[in-house]
Amino acid sequence: MSDTPLQADRDKAFAFLKAQARWRWPEIALWAFAFASILLMPSRALLINEIAILALFALSLDLILGYAGIVSLGHGAFFGVGAYTAGLLAKAGAGAAPLSDPTLGLLAAGATAAMIGYATSFLVLRGNDLTKLMVTLGIALIFQELANKFSDITGGADGLQGVTPAKVLGLFDFDIYGKTAAFYSVTVLFLLFCAARVIVHSPFGISLRAIKGNALRARAIGVPVDARLRAIYTLAAAYAGVAGALLAQTTAQVSLDVLEFHRSADTLLIVVLGGVGTLYGAVVGAAAFKMMYDFISSYTQQYWQFWLGLILVVLVLFVRGGIMGLIARLTGQEERA
């Protein structure tokens, strides 16, 4: 049966994919730590929640940036759309299931963001890096203006008030200590991370990397380039929408700054800081970025930007491939996952 050369190659390919997709112990340790940290440092639960949301958002950007080579400065548009979708749902339900149910909110936010992602993907996948950066940025800015204009729906610059999500799975109420929020966000992050991991190690994911490496060649070997790029862009938009929904639900509010330019820019920084195209870079980068900010700004509320900037500069100058690159070098694994 498996004697034909073709079959053997296929087996080899699958074995390769499987080996790539195997869970390694540091990964398991990382996730165990992520969950344990909420119990170990209950006073930092809110920060952990924020990191998890940011990590999910960065993860969604890494999907298009690291695996498909699409640069974007407007990813915040999907984050914002997700946040407003979940926020409005929770508000409409006034704290009672079914409308205010957090899970429903996540799904609705993901779906809405995905639709908009698909619609805009036709505009985005053209031109060089600069063009892509500016088109995505322009779309995000238009969304921000829209949210400001339709202030009777979005609450405008005052923010959407009265966002009251129901209990998570009908069991856990959002508490002031942020424990529920942190567990909820980390769990969602973990589940979506696993899904992303499966996707990037699937033949679909491999084909994306082929496109990123050389779109012409990928097209020549029969990869439907545009359709694949649109698919991953839509998926990433859905991820970003879910991240936005998490923020709306766990902070019980949505303000215009979910669509702000700096959110997209920060996320781009986080992905580069963590290491592009590694998935874990997004998580590690988000944690590093937030903790650096938190640590430095507790010493200097006015000038923390200076030190954060310095760290970024030094990192680019002396470390290749962000934090994940650094880790790989230190552990002697130069291979790229």
Binding site: A157, Q253, Q301
Partner: protein, 393 residues
């Protein structure tokens, strides 16, 4: 009493009382959340400086307990404000949260105040509805309608019939626009157009041109603290005075902090506001002198005085409760409190927990080579008109 001798007396009083009290009192922590970086940083700096000044003057004790400030920078982003408020309450165990540079930031913290039963002292944000977001919110800044209605009255009294408004397109701007337009209409005037400029807009020229083409009697302006200088540069270019158009606004536009940089073009502009650095009173003289001494590069503005009075409110409430930090008790103590602030006599409305204060009509004049908002008319004890109207219904 002379100012410095008062400080001296206060200082010596503390020198004697400190050892006696240090043992039995754990400090009272006040969490201050301000935008210290980003577009609204100047608001944060003014308030921070005022808080430090207050503590330097009045000592770090109130109601027999030591006061500790925990300052956090929210960069002007609402979800960070909320997280910081939550952390301050849960981890730092603060008894009061204070600050809040912008309306969405104050609203973001409101559920925390309600849930944790911690007083939220709003020292800057000015949308009327903020105090309704939580029974624990008390405001020491101002509300926009409160500062806007008096200038509308002044305009009507001075023969203005047709007006155009130009405001920043966000909550407080729309608040100001509404309050002004309604008052003008109620007084028999006519509103030709309501123009709204995007909040982050480097170019006001087209809006101003439009306003000029409509040929109103007066143009009403509102932009938040920090944007005034740029707007006024462009207003100056249009030369409204030549067309007989009065340029009026709230004092946010002729913000004391930036007024000096606006140049002579703003001379003669009439605005209404709760505080001017040129307010003539011994309290204000002492405040301004001390503030400028501690911060030579900065002029105190209405934000600073909001922070200063916020501290006075917290100190006063702690004195009343004798150091009891129970949130409900503190808010009760704050209700109805009245004192003489650098801006004049002020009090906290026991029903709305909002500030009641004099609003002054001022004109920009040059005094000793420097530009000041010189007050020439006082509307005494103005309550927030929005909430007053609601009550009347």
């Amino acid at each position: 009493m002379h100012f410095s001798t008062r400080i001296l007396l206060l200082a010596s009083a503390f020198a004697f009382t400190v050892p006696a009290l240090a043992d039995n009192a754990t400090p009272v922590k006040i969490g201050v959340i301000l935008p210290m970086t980003g577009p609204s940083a100047s608001t944060g700096r003014e308030i921070d400086a005022a808080i430090k000044l207050y503590m330097a003057q009045k000592g770090d004790k109130a109601g027999g307990r030591k006061i500790e400030i925990v300052l956090k920078d929210d960069t002007g982003v609402a979800d960070i404000t909320k997280r910081l408020a939550q952390e301050l309450v849960v981890n730092d165990k603060v008894s009061v949260i204070a600050g809040f540079g912008l309306t969405p930031l104050a609203l973001a913290a409101a559920p925390i105040a309600t849930q944790a039963k911690v007083p939220e002292v709003v020292m800057a944000a000015g949308t009327a509805t903020i105090t309704e977001a939580s029974p624990y919110i008390v405001r020491t800044s101002f509300t926009l309608p409160q500062n806007t209605v008096p200038i509308a009255d002044w305009a009507l009294k001075n023969g203005v019939k047709k007006v155009v408004t130009l405001v920043s397109d966000y909550g407080p701007g729309i608040d100001a626009e509404k309050a002004f337009s309604e008052r003008i209409k109620a007084g028999g005037g006519q509103v030709l157009d309501n123009l709204r400029a995007p909040l982050r807009n480097p170019e006001f020229a087209p809006f101003l041109q439009k306003a000029k083409d409509l040929k109103p009697d007066a143009l009403f302006l509102f932009v938040p603290s920090g944007f005034g200088a740029q707007l006024m540069k462009q207003v100056a270019e249009r030369d409204f005075a030549k067309e007989g158009v009065k340029v009026i606004g709230t004092g946010d536009v002729t913000d004391d902090e930036q007024l000096q940089g606006m140049g002579d073009a703003v001379l003669g502009m009439v605005t209404s506001m709760d505080y001017s650095v040129a307010h003539k009173s011994p309290e204000n003289k002492a405040f301004v002198e001390a503030f400028m001494k501690a911060n030579p590069a900065m002029r105190p503005n209405f934000m600073a005085v909001g922070g200063y009075d916020g501290m006075a409110l917290i100190y006063g409430a702690l004195e009343k409760t004798k150091g009891d930090t129970d949130g409900a008790k503190l808010v009760d103590a704050m209700k109805g409190m009245s004192w003489v602030s650098p801006r004049g006599p002020i009090s906290i409305d026991p029903e709305t927990r909002d500030i009641v204060q004099n609003v002054y009509i001022r004109k920009v004049e040059k005094v000793d080579g420097q530009l000041y908002n010189v007050e020439f008319e006082t509307m005494p004890n103005v309550k927030d008109p929005v909430k007053a109207a609601k009550k009347a219904k």
